[in-house]
Symmetry: none
DNA sequence: CATGAATGAGACTTCATTCAT
DNA sequence: TATGAATGAAGTCTCATTCAT
């Protein structure tokens, strides 16, 4: 197949994945019909089957793309350094990135769990990201900014869990301002304990 | 209708809700067929319609029951006092309670959102529980155990978000031991900052 | 079985038939559920099965009872003599009788058509009644009241058809007063032609 | 949407309505399953839902089409003039037209009664047709062919009721020849009274 | 390549009938 | 006998997928 056609196919798949991801995130996998994806793109149902052989294939592609997009979030987190972590601006910036790649519901992960290699890839990714965060904390520790008694791995895990917990509380009706304040307060305590206590 | 019959009907509804809750939690609302609930109970699907006029009615009842059951968790949290909060035993006890009423996916909340009064009831419950937790922290603060500079509302919100974030990470494959350690470490820092800093 | 019990059973069957006939006439056979009949009588579904082994058996009994009740109408028709036929009072009297045994829809006859002997009984009844009407007209003819050139059998058939056509137009919204006037006018012409033309 | 597609959709709907009308008329609305309509057309049941969103929508369309087809019958009636009315040929011609659009049972009208505007359209149509017939009789009356003492509105109503009564007697087993004779005899009397009595 | 009509498996729901109490 | 909970066949409707144009 000529290169141009291949590229076109890739571009088409990307467009499908983009629209499907939005719909899956908004309505869930089972509540999204093939025709919803097609309508959202302004094409016909049949066209989608030129690029994906089933709805399940789209789901797999959506999850892969989702993970890739989420890497951005991780990078921002890591690139920010630790100093700005305990600020409302950081919370908002992270939230904006997360919203641009909204969370996928458990229905999607349940379906995807049939695909062992995909699940393994997820796990490895998550661990890699966590480890990078831990490494960053360890550097700070080595520099004496975090005192030696603190275990950085649980700290990293806790910070990420706090972030996820606050973001998910938003979809249950919590006010953004209140979630932001909680983040700032908790992070201040956590980092004060670790950074300032000289 | 005689009282005995009414009681039987209530008991039957409770049994249906129990089985439905388990299935909804495991597979999600749309992936649970009426026949799954029936099979799980060892009855025919027709029987269920004696007690609920539609699958949606079951969903509403499941959510109400879920909220009621979750109140237990809240009570344990509040009854524990603050001293045991930063322990692995506390984490495990809470986790056991949460597992006995496993989380419901967003598909269920999406459907239930059609029921305005139910949603309002949820919101009011959540706020009430959060407020009780805040009150408890405020007492500690009044007693001087938490120093005056700390805002207890964000603190309470953050602790609950941390708990939720850690629990949900478990379903994505995180090791329980690691989540427990994270809880203990973070809570130690949070409470040390507030309680021990004399 | 003792006679008293038999009589009780007959009475019970009659009550069921009465309620079923009303409902079948109002809603049709398929739109009437067994529980509707039971509720209408203030008994339970199960009780009905003590007296009829199926819904179809009730239908047969309803049709038999209906035919028997309709005989009243026929008798009134025949007993009135011919002189009062062309009056609004006659029309109203017949209508009242017909309303007391409201018409059964085609769904019921369609079902009953499976029962050959019942259908045969209907046919024979109808013919018998028509013949009695014809005989009456023939007597009038013999007395010279109806002139010899008129064929009484078609006349009888036409008068009955006119009656049925007018009554059924009522259920499609025709005003009773207008149907009554039509009856009187037409009957006046028909009988004037036959009776007065001396 | 291109015109060609629209036309195809219209044609498909017409085909569905045609088959549904036949089945509704033969078996009644509730006894006709969607799969019966589909089988009758040689398509799958799913296909029908491309054109009608529910069985009830088909019912509405069937009733509209039925009324339109019935207009033919009315036109034949009116176009025939009054002279041929009292003939067996007229009876047969009308019967053929009616059979080509067989009557719909009360179950259908009961269902359709939910649709107020449709019911209103029926009523207006019926009245319009009756009025046209009355106008025709009035013309004859003005020409002196019907004498002045006769009220044409009841006469028209009676003739239509006679026709309906005779046609419906056919479905209860009456011999066509006998119904035809009754029509001719009665109409002869009615029109002789009105036309010949010079 | 794109379209959308058609297919048919499968979900929810109804209701005549049975049967333990 | 009476009750009403339970059964399961059957009906309406949905939607992923196929395929002729």
């Amino acid at each position: 197949m000529p290169k141009v056609v291949l590229e076109y196919k890739e571009e088409a798949k990307r467009r499908i994945v983009k629209h499907a991801m939005k719909l899956f995130s908004e309505r869930g996998y089972y509540q999204t019909r093939m025709i919803d994806i097609a309508n959202s793109m302004g094409v016909s149902k049949g066209a989608i089957y030129q690029y994906f052989s089933s709805k399940y294939e789209i789901l797999i592609a959506v999850l892969e793309a989702h993970t890739t997009l989420r890497e951005q979030e991780v990078r921002s987190f890591l690139d920010s350094g630790l100093s700005s972590l305990a600020t409302g601006e950081f919370f908002d910036r992270m939230l904006a990135i997360r919203m641009s790649t909204p969370p996928l519901g458990p229905d999607i992960f349940r379906e995807a769990a049939r695909n062992k290699s995909l699940m393994e890839w997820f796990r490895i990714n998550s661990e890699k990201w966590l480890q990078e965060f831990v490494d960053l904390l360890n550097e700070q520790k080595k520099d004496g900014v975090i005192r030696s008694g603190v275990d950085t791995e649980p700290l990293a895990r806790g910070i990420l869990a706090l972030r996820d917990g606050l973001y998910s509380s938003l979809s249950l009706g919590t006010d953004i301002a209140k979630a932001r304040t909680a983040w700032v307060e908790i992070m201040r305590i956590l980092l004060k304990e670790n950074l300032d206590e000289a």
